[in-house]
Amino acid sequence: MTEALIVTALLLVAGSATAAVAVRDPVRQSLVLAVLGVVLAVLFTVLQAPDVALSQLAVGSALTPLLLLLTVRKVRRRGQRAAGGGGGSDGRRGGGSGP
């Protein structure tokens, strides 16, 4: 019984990790990463590591995706303007080495 649980959890981890890499859109990726965090927490519980499972749940499925989403939001907010005004590569780049 435990063995079946462990194998299932392991396969889920492998699957969701692969999905997290394969999904190229950062917003979707952060959702998949949240799922990966939950699945990892389940795996750790089955592996009798409740301490790690708790922190993985807090960090991996809440904090990290939240940070990723906030970053996406910041970057997108810039991107909208850049797409509209062509300000993508504005004059504040560092150096004279651009081609």
Partner: protein, 260 residues
């Protein structure tokens, strides 16, 4: 390098590494094996110090020096992201408009907030007897504060969360951990030795000597650190506006739609 070339490189290197790792996996002791010399001794050492949660004993007593390093990493990351996400000279702040929150959401958030905060504190306080401790409780408590953002709005969050005290709290918690360690040294024992307090009664809150103290210090450090980290990112995402962005004041996109 062209993407094609890079792919070849990744394939070659990845295949080599994969072969190495698979060969190593086949040589590993089988999964679930019975030989854990260090672990068994750690359990004994934990029981000898009246610590019911062995993991807490390893983290805050036997290998407390690792935890010092880990705490410093967190401390450094907080300091680093404060520096990296600072408002630069070419940026200004735009006050976000207050957004209307539907009543059920508000009620839910304000109801859950104290519960979550208490849960966090409980988890911190019981680190030495049950799973959990400073890290887990700290993150929960810090995240709980951000329910305010969901339930009220960003301004309400900013009122209960002036950043400066949290930054100071982060640093003071780190100092508290260090001072506990130094106190043991001054008392004639080794740095971070768990010899200052009686080991107490097994499986009660007052057990395990200095473990609860270090646990509390970590809990405070983590909670403050997470608050400051999230604040830095929220600031960037919601308030700070640079030249490349919408700054005409018409931007009322509710961050919650994406932030949650």
């Amino acid at each position: 390098m062209s993407p094609r070339m890079r792919l070849w490189l990744v394939a070659t290197g990845g295949a080599g590494l994969a072969a190495l790792l698979v060969a190593a996996c086949l040589d590993l002791p089988r999964f679930g094996g019975d030989r854990h010399p260090y672990g068994d001794q750690a359990v004994e050492a934990s029981l000898s110090r009246h610590t019911a949660n062995t993991v807490a004993s390893v983290t805050f007593d036997q290998r407390a020096f690792d935890t010092l390093g880990e705490m410093s990493i967190l401390f450094a990351a907080v300091l680093g992201s404060v520096v990296l996400l600072r408002q630069t000279r070419d940026e200004h702040r735009a006050r976000p408009e207050p957004a209307a929150v539907s009543r059920p959401v508000r009620r839910y958030a304000l109801l859950v907030l104290p519960v979550a905060l208490l849960t966090g504190l409980y988890v911190v306080a019981h680190g030495q007897v049950s799973p959990g401790g400073g890290f887990q409780g700290g993150v929960v408590a810090a995240t709980a504060l951000h329910l305010l953002y969901l339930g009220a709005d960003y301004r309400a969050l900013e009122r209960v969360r002036p950043i400066a005290p949290y930054e100071a709290g982060d640093a003071l918690a780190a100092s508290a951990y260090l001072v506990t360690g130094l106190a043991a040294l001054l008392a004639g024992s080794a740095f971070l030795a768990n010899t200052l307090l009686p080991y107490g009664t097994f499986n009660t809150l007052a057990s395990a000597g200095t473990v609860p103290l270090l646990n509390a210090a970590i809990g405070m450090e983590v909670a403050c650190a997470v608050v400051v980290l999230l604040a830095g990112f929220l600031d960037q995402a919601v308030e700070i506006v640079d030249e490349g962005e919408h700054d005409d004041g018409e931007y009322h996109d509710d961050p919650r739609q994406r932030g949650k």
